[in-house]
């Protein structure tokens, strides 16, 4: 199955990309995908990165084909 992963802010900077489409095999939760994506990246505080699945911040969601996933560093609006 395919999911689109979007990278923002310092995560996009560390990943040197803003978006990619991943081909996943088997069941995977949002949290597992987050670990996999952040694993090789030079990010000091990986705990502070949140994952949204179809704009929903619940990281226990099991991914399904066509999901849009976003890796969100700490918010800095305002």
């Amino acid at each position: 199955m395919k999911v689109t992963v979007k990278y923002f802010g310092l995560v996009a900077e560390a990943a040197e990309k803003s978006e990619e489409v991943l081909e996943l095999n088997g069941e995977l939760t949002a949290m597992e995908l987050k670990s996999q994506c952040l694993n090789s990246l030079a990010i000091a505080d990986k705990e502070s990165v949140q994952i949204a699945v179809n704009q929903n911040l619940d990281d226990t969601i099991t991914l399904k084909d066509g999901d849009e996933v976003a890796l969100l560093p700490p918010f800095a609006g305002g």
């Binding site: 502070s48 704009q55 976003a70 969100l72 560093p73 700490p74 918010f75 800095a76 609006g77 305002g78």
Partner: protein, 151 residues
Amino acid sequence: MDKKKPKKVFVQGAIPPEKIANSVANHQSKTNIGAHSIFLGQIRADEVEGKTVTAIDYTAYEEMAENVFHEIREAAFAKFDITCAHIYHSLGKVNVGELCLFVFTSSAHRKIAIEATNFFVEEIKAKVPVFGKEIFEDETHQWKVNGRHYT
């Protein structure tokens, strides 16, 4: 319903002060309003380890952010008896001294308008996926985190 209509929050670059005057002028025909409460965020020349911030470059997960702004608006209208509410947030580069956030609420009564504006500001800072790259005078940068400097 006017108040339920999704409105575009993001604007490119700094928010010009004239936008505030125009927004206020647009509400002078609404004669049930007794009080307006406005919050403006301005970029500070913070010093970090001897370097000075000269601008913040804002990016966002735009689709999600616009939806979250809309949810915050719905929650505010459910919670407070406000007549109108407007929010504008910058995307892209905003220089020191310029405005990056404009929250504007109106009500018959002052306490309601003031509380609603506070609610918007706190909710926006906590819930909207906006990211800020603080750019220093030497072109280096660091990523801004809400709550670190801005409390």
